[in-house]
Amino acid sequence: MGQTINGVLRRHGLILAFLVFLGGVALNADAFLTPGNILDVLRQVSITGMMALGVTFVVLTGRLDLSVGSLLTLLTVIVVDQHNIAGPFPAIVMTLLVGVAVGAFNGLLVGFVGLNALIVTLAMLSFLQGLVLFYSGGSNVNVANAQETWFGVFGRGDFLGLPVPVILFLVGAVIAGLVLQFTTFGRRVYGVGGNETASIFSGIDARWTVFWTYVVSGFTTGVAAVIMGSRVMGAQNTIGQGYELTVLAGVILGGTSLLGGSGSIWRTVIGISMLGFIQNGLLLLGFPYYVQWLVTWAVIIIAVWIDLGAKRGRIFA
């Protein structure tokens, strides 16, 4: 009964492996399951998670957004720098607008011109990294009046005992989940991802649908940048490096299919949180921080493999 074993593996295999991992870490690192550490993990996750919400929209249409890493860097530099120049509120608005504009440009090239999403967003990743250095001139930026501004609330504040960034992430997740499940836009996203041709035959304009998913992705990366800038009260030129793959790993670890049409926001929340705990656990076990790059690799390969296996009806080809 290959189908059943596969079904169990797909539904519960990863969760099982994750629980075993959690138990293992907890036995070896006392700090792991303390409230303080858990909140730390969630604070970290809130940034990648916020980005992953938007990227989930893109992946659901069967496309990719690899530009979000450099976009996070650029937007964090912008929000911090503009905070010093124009004040917190205009800085935030400007950051979100630039995020949306970059998303719209990706969406134009992928949705309307019909270029390959991987290439378009990979090229954008490179372009934005260059743009960051043009903008900043190569130097890091810091919030000048860190003690006086209310800007710190997004990354450092607490509300009712919960960190504000975690609240922002959860509120964002609820909104994104509702949009996907209950609106016509959500339905179009699933339709285009599930069968683009059939959706076009049903009068859905796949080009606009794809376009808007990239806009959403640009917007959520903008929100993530606000949290990041507020948390660090500064920005280095490489602050978002590698985030594009961490975010993607979280999305597909949750079980959203890279082939499009199947997946959800709650899956992304689970996936990106699991990834956060895995990386934190490895740090507590004494691995160097750069082990996270190796973990990202392993997670992407395993998750894609399982997804492919489920599509083909078996794990091993």
């Binding site: 209950f182 609106t183 016509t184 836009f185 959500g186 339905r187 179009r188 699933y190 339709g191 599930g194 069968n195 041709t197 059939a198 959706s199 076009i200 035959f201 049903s202 009068g203 859905i204 304009d205 049409g261 199947s262």
Partner: protein, 501 residues
């Protein structure tokens, strides 16, 4: 040794919802050409794939050279001496002829390095045996289709095949090329190779084959000696039940004109197509595959862009609509390919049904789920669709039930015109007649209906008027007593003859 090389014994193969092969048995003798005929969906290609190891049968066995044999894949089949020559050739255009002949089974030394000289020598031998006019070093991509086919046939020589299966081998050949192919087939036959010949073209079947086995709905209807039979008998065996099926035709009470198309053209696909259809009228569009029927209606619907021509909706010029505009006006298209164009397979019946009309099922962009559910239930019972619930993925349903959801998704918005492109292809007989009745019912309720079909009895049975299409043009129109199979065949084949001359 008896005089049978390969024997299929009681093979059954079931796909979700459909029995593709039902206890099929037949045999191939050395030195004979054995035709396998049947309508689309009769099970020919499934049987062929079972022989080539692409499908594993649920039960039954293949006896090859006197021993039960399991074929694990195309390469395994080839090495055992069973060669399948596909309609779409399986060659790699960037490789040489020699490399293609031995594709996947290249001679190598113990370091895995290709033995080029041996490869060339063996390939040359195979090509010479067939009398090919090209050498082993030519890049396959530069050869004509007919020559590429020869490369595939050369594999039969190279692997000393005992059985060669041809699937629609003449589909893209000219007459001269066809003669050459038949010459080659007769050569193989003379050397004792058993040949399976699959084709829709009856003249070829009667020209080259020795025996004919007819498949229908996954069952063998019989095997006859070609010399002892005629076209009439074979056709009867192929069509069987369909001939006796009773078609309900809608009452001929027509209202206003709904759609008129004038001189619609799209270069390379169709030219100057004009027609119109009225309320309550069923217009049939007949033609062979490739005549441009689907392309015309897809252009009217807006999925394709025309180069020229006009489309009028209720008398008004609507230029070239987008699918969205067409749907909002009241046009519906049940497309040719249910799985690729008709449904989002991973969605359930509920979501598929509302997909073309999201604005009707929502307020301020928020989906109205109770309304969706009510519509789903309404059509589930009206069309008696068998599904476990609103969210059971339609991929799990049978072809007939899937097709009913495609109908549901269009009917739920009360269209004025419904275009049905091959609405009964590949579905079971029961669902077929349900769809025929539905067509009549829709017309009597005042809808304009266009039905495209390559099944002649169907198109004649349900339509009030039939257009014959060939090679991208409307070649004839028949009404009333002129609507006969002979007239349709004449129209379509006469035109083809003219075009060839």
């Amino acid at each position: 040794m008896d005089d049978v090389i390969l024997k299929v014994e009681g093979i059954t193969k079931t796909f979700p919802g459909v029995k593709a092969l039902d206890n099929v048995s037949f045999d191939i003798r050395p030195g004979e050409v054995h035709a396998l005929v049947g309508e689309n969906g009769a099970g020919k290609s499934t049987l062929m794939k079972a022989l080539a190891g692409l499908h594993k049968p649920d039960s039954g066995q293949i006896v090859y050279q006197g021993a039960p044999t399991e074929v694990t894949g195309p390469l395994d089949a080839r090495q055992k001496g069973i060669l399948l020559i596909h309609q779409e050739l399986s060659l790699s255009p960037e490789l040489s002829v020699a490399e293609n002949i031995y594709l996947g089974a290249w001679p190598t030394n113990r370091f895995g390095v290709l033995k080029k000289r041996e490869l060339r020598r063996n390939a040359s031998k195979a090509l010479e045996a067939l009398g090919c006019g090209f050498g082993p070093d030519v890049r396959v991509g530069t050869l004509s289709v007919a020559m590429q086919q020869m490369v595939e046939i050369a594999r039969a020589e190279a692997f000393s095949a005992n059985v060669v299966i041809f699937d629609e081998p003449t589909a893209s050949l000219t007459d001269t090329e066809k003669d050459q192919l038949f010459h080659t087939i007769r050569g193989l036959k003379a050397r004792g190779v058993g040949i399976v010949y699959i084709s829709h073209k009856m003249d070829e079947i009667f020209d080259i084959t020795d025996r004919i086995t007819v498949l229908r709905d996954g069952q063998v209807q019989g095997t006859v000696d070609t010399a002892d039979t005629d076209l009439n008998q074979v056709t009867r065996m192929m069509i069987g039940r369909t001939l006796d099926t009773f078609f309900v035709k809608a009452k001929a009470e027509f209202g206003e004109e709904v759609l008129r198309v004038e001189e619609l053209s799209k270069s390379g696909l169709f030219q100057d197509v004009s027609f119109s259809v009225r309320e309550g009228e069923v217009l049939g569009l007949y033609g062979l595959v490739g005549a441009g029927r689907s392309e015309v209606v897809e252009t009217v619907f807006g999925v394709r862009r025309a180069d020229g021509g006009k489309i009028f909706w209720k008398g008004g010029d609507i230029a070239l609509p987008t699918p969205r505009q067409s749907i909002d006006m009241g046009m519906a298209l049940v497309p040719e390919s249910r799985k690729e164009q008709g449904l989002v397979l991973m969605m359930g019946g509920r979501e598929n049904t509302s997909l073309p009309h999201l604005s009707l099922f929502s307020e301020l962009s928020v989906m109205n789920r109770p309304k969706e559910l009510a519509t789903f239930e309404k059509y589930r019972s009206a069309l008696s669709i068998k599904t476990t619930g609103p969210d059971q993925a339609v991929s799990q349903l049978s072809g007939g039930n899937q097709q009913k959801f495609v109908l549901a998704k269009w009917l739920c918005a009360d269209p004025k015109l419904i275009i049905l492109d091959e609405p009964t292809r590949g579905i079971d007989v029961g669902s077929k007649s349900a769809i025929h009745e539905l067509i009549a019912d829709l017309a009597e309720r005042g809808l304009a209906v266009i039905v495209i079909s390559s099944e002649m009895p169907e198109v004649l049975g349900v339509s009030h008027r039939v257009l014959a299409m060939s090679e991208g043009a409307v070649v004839a129109e028949f009404e009333g007593d002129d609507m006969t199979e002979e007239n349709l065949i004449d129209a379509v084949s006469h035109h083809r003859g003219e075009a060839a001359a």
